[in-house]
Amino acid sequence: MSTTGPPLRDARRLVAAAGGTVRESMIWPHRHLLTLEDLTAEEITFILDTAEAFADVSTRSVKKVPALRGRVVVNLFFEDSTRTRTSFTLAAQRLSADVIDFTAKTSSLSKGETLRDTVRNIEAMGVDIIVCRHSASGATHLVARNVQCCVINAGDGRHEHPTQGLLDIYTMRQAKGRIEGLKVAIVGDVANSRVARSNLHGLRKLGADVTLVGPTTLVPRAFEQMGARVCHDFDAVIDQFDVINMLRVQRERIASNVFPSLEEYSRLFGLTNDRVRRTKPDVLIMHPGPINRGVEVSADVADGQTSAILRQVTNGLAVRMAVMFLCNQAAAGAEPH
């Protein structure tokens, strides 16, 4: 059963204590966080409010609360990722959980064990939360179907990266005070981006106006049926946005002929100093990282005042603490007494 201390036993009291408003009947029902597409606007807001309550923890000298003491969190990363894994690790440690890393190269997967057997074996050791990143879309659904413990999607192929979407929206809300009516651009390799999809779902549910910008080969029309505007001329629309979220572009994409060179990509869709001069004066510039300096964003922009890139990283910790806390609550609530 839960071993949380008195002020943190209940997310509702937590949120209220941090000054947020909360519906008294809200009990977090989901043991997994796999997508933002499946959450309601109210649920997304609740996670953001919970994250705000946890943000304060990172400013203390002893950066720990006992909310997940005695719980075990496993980072199951089949794709390389130092920053996301570190973020989850720190978040779990701040909640006083024990953290274990399980990376694909050193694992039994290289010996031919199936994903299903791997996760069931891990679960059998008594873990409470599996944070999973995999290169195949839908892989975390497969994991969740095969275990009883909590599963948090840290990125499945091109499909979703829900905690990134949440921390991006959190950052926007923090800077702008609201999401509803906010004009947001997501720029770059949208077709292959789980960050873009999670952002799009979350922002649409909270009432933002989302435009996807990029070459026709990377921003297909189908996204219009998901509630976004699609635009292939960055210069024509750049002065409309309150938030510009730049996505990372991979050199390897050139081989599949989606654009001819990084230089051309940067000329057409990069956030150069010239382009930044034409944005709204209080525009918020974001990027999920890691940045290709000089490709998606110029060095000046990355380091400039309008850049929220480092704040995103900080906010990521609070959001991930909130997510792990809530999922664990849902699982604990479902346990027999």
């Binding site: 199936t114 995999h134 195949a136 497969l142 499945d156 192929g157 189908a222 049926q225 998901m226």
Partner: protein, 437 residues
């Protein structure tokens, strides 16, 4: 084993002969002896088919048996058991085994294994190119001498137009059709489901409809140019159906077939990432399904096939992009086609059965698919009103990879007779006991 078998009181539907009437069918020495009032029983086995349909044995011209190379998923014997349980008396099997069926010895192997199984007829389809690699022609002439009924690199298309043209020119002298899995490998590259809104939403790489359509268009021009008989495997796109319709009007010697999943399911089914919905050609859009149904109704699509593609659990139980393509179907195809085509009124029973008997027989040049006096006594008895629920655990196939678990279907074969001998009845399989060891 009595040499005379009388099937009484059934609705005898023989589309090739234009027959649809209640009549008795008398079988003697493995052949149809008489249709009409039967003689007195006198020692013959009698099957009462009152209320049931009696038709020529069903023929499935697109089946994958995984022998040699992947016997855990299916063998020729287990595939034949699944076939007769599904009402089939003849199946044609594709050559994408390991090794491929691209030479005389492999054709003979398939026939030998089928004879050992002692159930339905199995007709091997040989590869068009060596190893199905799409580069060099396989020994079609020798394969025909060994009994190949058609050629295909199924699982893939022949990507190089010059190779396909050469293959068509060469095959023309044998009078056997080339069956093409129409999929441009470059357009389809990396794809694991239909390209479109659902693929975009799910973040899965897509196989666009044009991958099928461009190859159909190319092949129709080549077939017209060379005069080769050409058959499009498992058509799945509206564009593809239209191209074939136009090709037939132009006089191209083209036929085609469709699978039950392309008449009943769409790409939206993939939303749960359940690999039972992963198949090639992929499940397409509702518009494509409508076009395929219309194509069946207006005769553009000649044959109904299962594309039975078994895979073991351990292969299918993985993430969607890495799972193998394939849905099994021998034991459910008839019920699924009834749901897709008869229940909504697109086809009558005789029209449906034509596409599962005489039509595939004609494409493959088999003397099958009809109940005329003197014909081989391959007969299927179907209860058209039998309600049943699909339970993969009771399948005769070694594999269970299909999305139909729990489906309520109407119509089921109750008896399958091959060469005058009952192979399947009341849920049980009866192989020949005099099969070669």
């Amino acid at each position: 084993m009595p040499t005379t078998l009388i099937i009484k009181n059934g609705r005898v539907i023989d589309p090739a002969a234009g027959r649809d009437e209640v009549a008795d069918l008398t079988i003697a020495d493995g052949r149809i002896a008489a249709i009409g009032q039967s003689p007195a029983a006198g020692g013959a086995e009698v099957i009462d088919a009152a209320g049931q349909i009696v038709c020529p044995g069903l023929i499935d011209m697109h089946v994958h048996l995984r022998e040699p190379g992947n016997e855990d998923a299916e063998t020729i014997a287990s595939g034949c058991a699944a076939a007769v349980a599904g009402g089939y008396t003849s199946i044609a099997c594709m050559p994408n085994t390991t090794p491929a069926v691209d030479n005389e010895a492999m054709i003979e192997f398939v026939y030998r294994q089928a004879a050992r199984a002692g159930l339905c007829h199995v007709y091997p389809i040989g590869a068009i190119t060596k190893g199905r690699e799409g580069k060099e022609l396989a020994e079609m002439g020798q394969m025909i001498r060994a009994g190949a009924v058609a050629f295909s690199d199924d699982g893939r298309g022949v990507a190089n137009a010059a190779v396909m043209m050469r293959a068509m020119q060469y095959a023309r002298m044998f009078g056997k059709p080339l069956i093409e899995h129409c999929e441009d490998p470059h357009l389809a590259e990396g794809g694991c489901m239909n390209a479109g809104l659902t693929a975009t939403r799910l973040g899965l790489p897509g196989i666009p409809a044009v991958a099928e359509e461009t190859m159909i268009q190319r092949d129709l021009l080549l077939a017209q140019n060379t005069g080769c008989r050409y058959h499009v495997a498992h058509v799945s796109t509206a564009g593809g159906v239209e191209l074939i319709r136009e090709g037939k009007k132009r006089g191209v010697s083209v036929t085609t077939e469709v699978c039950p999943h392309h008449l009943l399911l769409t790409d939206e089914c993939v939303a749960t990432y359940d690999t039972n919905y992963k198949v090639n050609p992929p499940l397409r859009t509702a518009g494509d399904v409508q076009a395929c149904l219309a194509g069946v109704a207006d005769g553009t699509i000649d044959c109904l096939v299962s594309d039975h593609a078994p895979h073991g659990r351990e292969d299918k139980e993985t993430d969607f992009p890495n799972a193998p393509f394939g849905i099994i179907g021998l034991e459910v195809a008839l019920g699924l086609f009834v749901r897709a085509l008869i229940q909504p009124g697109h086809l009558t029973w005789p029209a449906l059965l034509a596409k599962m008997t005489i039509a595939p027989a004609r494409v493959l040049g088999l003397s099958k698919g009809t109940l005329s006096v003197g014909a081989d006594a391959d007969v299927t008895i179907i209860d058209p009103d039998r309600r049943w629920q699909v339970g993969t655990a009771s399948f005769f196939s070694r594999s269970h990879n299909c999305p139909y678990e729990g489906w309520e279907l109407v119509a089921r074969p109750t008896c399958t007779i091959v060469g005058g001998r009952v192979c399947f009845r009341d849920g049980r399989i009866f192989p020949r006991t005099d099969s070669p060891a």
